[in-house]
Each structure stands twice: as structure tokens, then as C-alpha cells.
């Protein structure tokens, strides 16, 4: 992070939450003010101001997004991506259990890999359409995993941390993968 570059996560949060018509304007305004503040105060103070503006802007932006039906669009994108994700995971699971690894132990090892790969792909696809859809998708993944754990869908006995891994890493993969790809792309463009 250079002296004039604002907190990355705060920027990502704003990009995700702020409705499309005002996204660029709000980010631009905050970055401009942040740059001015880094010149007159310390970077820490400027970053603290940036974070305070971000945190206080999020509720009004979410409300504004709900009013403008931006949220409905994000939800429908997330839902569509989730359905495709589930079909992909089911197809991969079926292939593995029928031909590649019929043993339950191998299935237990491969299931998280399939799950994380499909959630990461889903996150990237959702972010490509609309950044806000990734948050909705992550919530959907978390809720469905929680329901699956509660209903004991997995018949093979597994330790608690295995299920907990699905619950936490799945939504994280949805959120983090598009950000990581974005950064890699940026680095590629710079070099």
C-alpha cells in the first residue's frame, strides 16, 4: 500500500455495497479526500477517517440499494450462480463416487476440494456480474451448509472441524477468490 492508496478492504466493501450509479463517485470522493488528508496528517489518521466514513456509509447505502432494487438484482444473480454451482458440485460428486473413488474415505477427502473449487468459481462468476452478489452468495452458501450440518446430510462420521471448515471456508472462498483474482490481474497489468 503506497502513501496515497486507501485501505484496500474498505474500498472493496464500498465497491460491494454501494449501488452502481454512485459507486465510482463515492469511491473517487473518498480517495481524493484521503489523499488530501495524508498530506496534512499521518497515514494512520487518514486511514481511520476513511474507515469511519466507510462504516458509517454502509447502512445508508444498503438502504438506498434496497430502495433502488439493486439488492433484488444481486439476489437473483446470486441465486442463479448458486444453482449452477450446485449442479457442478453434484456432477463432480457423482463422477467421483461412481468411477474415480467409490470408497467413503477418499470421498471425505475429495468433497472439500470439490466444494471449495465450485464456491471459488461461483464467487468469481458472481463478482463478474455484480460485486454485491458475492456477499449474497456467501450468505447463501453459509446458510445451506448450516442446514446440511443440522440435518446431518453427511452419513459418514466426520470430526466437528471438518464440518466447521465447510461452514467458514466456503463463504470465505466466495468472497476472497474474486478479490485475489482482481489483485493478480492488477499486478499483471502493472508489470
Amino acid at each position: 500500500m503506497s502513501r496515497s492508496s486507501p485501505p484496500t478492504f474498505a474500498c472493496w466493501l464500498l465497491k460491494t455495497v454501494v449501488p452502481t450509479p454512485y459507486r465510482e463517485a463515492i469511491l473517487g470522493d473518498l480517495i481524493e479526500e484521503y489523499t488530501l488528508r495524508t498530506e496534512s496528517t499521518s497515514r494512520f489518521t487518514a486511514s481511520r477517517w476513511f474507515w469511519s466514513q466507510t462504516c458509517r456509509s454502509v447502512p445508508s447505502m444498503v438502504w438506498s440499494s434496497l430502495r433502488s432494487r439493486d439488492c433484488l438484482m444481486s439476489m437473483s444473480i446470486a441465486m442463479s450462480v448458486y444453482i449452477v454451482m450446485e449442479i457442478l458440485a453434484y456432477a463432480a460428486d457423482l463422477t467421483i463416487s461412481k468411477w474415480v473413488a467409490p470408497q467413503p474415505t477418499t470421498h471425505v477427502i475429495l468433497a472439500p476440494i470439490i466444494f471449495l473449487t465450485t464456491t471459488a468459481i461461483g464467487g468469481c462468476v458472481a463478482a463478474r456480474f455484480r460485486p454485491g452478489a458475492t456477499i449474497v452468495l456467501a450468505l447463501m452458501v453459509m446458510i445451506t451448509v448450516a442446514i446440511s450440518i443440522d440435518l446431518k446430510v453427511c452419513t459418514i462420521p466426520v470430526p466437528w472441524w471438518y464440518e466447521f471448515g465447510f461452514l467458514t471456508l466456503g463463504p470465505l472462498a466466495v468472497i476472497i477468490t474474486p478479490t485475489l483474482f482482481g489483485r493478480l490481474k492488477q499486478r499483471g497489468a502493472v508489470t
Binding site: 454501494v18 450509479p21 454512485y22 469511491l27 473517487g28 481524493e32 466514513q53 456509509s57 438502504w63 438506498s64
Partner: protein, 96 residues
């Protein structure tokens, strides 16, 4: 909207935020400013247009706002209403 009138058109969100902060002493968020401006724009009281992108804004364009005739009329009506409602109350402020 009063801040926009004071800034004489062509003002972007951060300038409006600063103006309100300086005049009222209240620290408001940029999100609240844009949410309000969005509502005013939907009502036809203000209009917005996109400015040129600048490097100090990370290559992002400004969204500039100006008050429309309907907005000015609404402001005048509000001003007259407040004046009518507060007429003769000056002496009572001390007793409240």
C-alpha cells in the same frame, strides 16, 4: 439542497459533505449525502452529471449536482413555511 444552492451548482458529494459539516458542525458520512442526493434526484429537485476522471481520484469521475427549478421552488415554500411558523416566537424561546 441548501448546501447545493450555496455552492452555486456543480458540486460533488464531498464538497457538499464539507459544506454541511462546516455550517452545522455535524460530522456526516458521504454515504448519507449521496443517499439524500439520490432521493432528491428521484423527486426531480436536483440533477446530476458525470465530470471528467482525475488521477487524484484514482481515475474515477466526479458526479456533479445542481439544483433544478422544482428544487428551488420547494426550498422557497419550505422557507416561507418555516418563517410563518416561527413568526412571533422570538420572545418565547427564552421561556422554553
Amino acid at each position: 439542497m441548501l448546501a447545493l444552492v450555496r455552492l452555486d451548482g456543480n458540486a460533488h458529494g464531498m464538497i457538499v459533505r464539507r459544506e454541511i459539516e462546516e455550517r452545522t458542525g455535524r460530522n456526516i458520512s458521504i454515504g448519507a449525502v449521496y443517499a439524500t442526493l439520490e432521493r432528491l434526484e428521484a423527486k426531480g429537485y436536483v440533477s446530476s452529471f458525470t465530470g471528467d476522471p482525475t488521477p487524484e481520484r484514482g481515475g474515477r469521475a466526479k458526479r456533479l449536482f445542481r439544483v433544478e427549478a422544482a428544487g428551488k421552488r420547494a426550498l422557497q415554500i419550505s422557507d416561507q413555511t418555516i418563517r410563518r411558523l416561527t413568526t412571533g416566537l422570538k420572545d418565547r424561546w427564552r421561556t422554553i
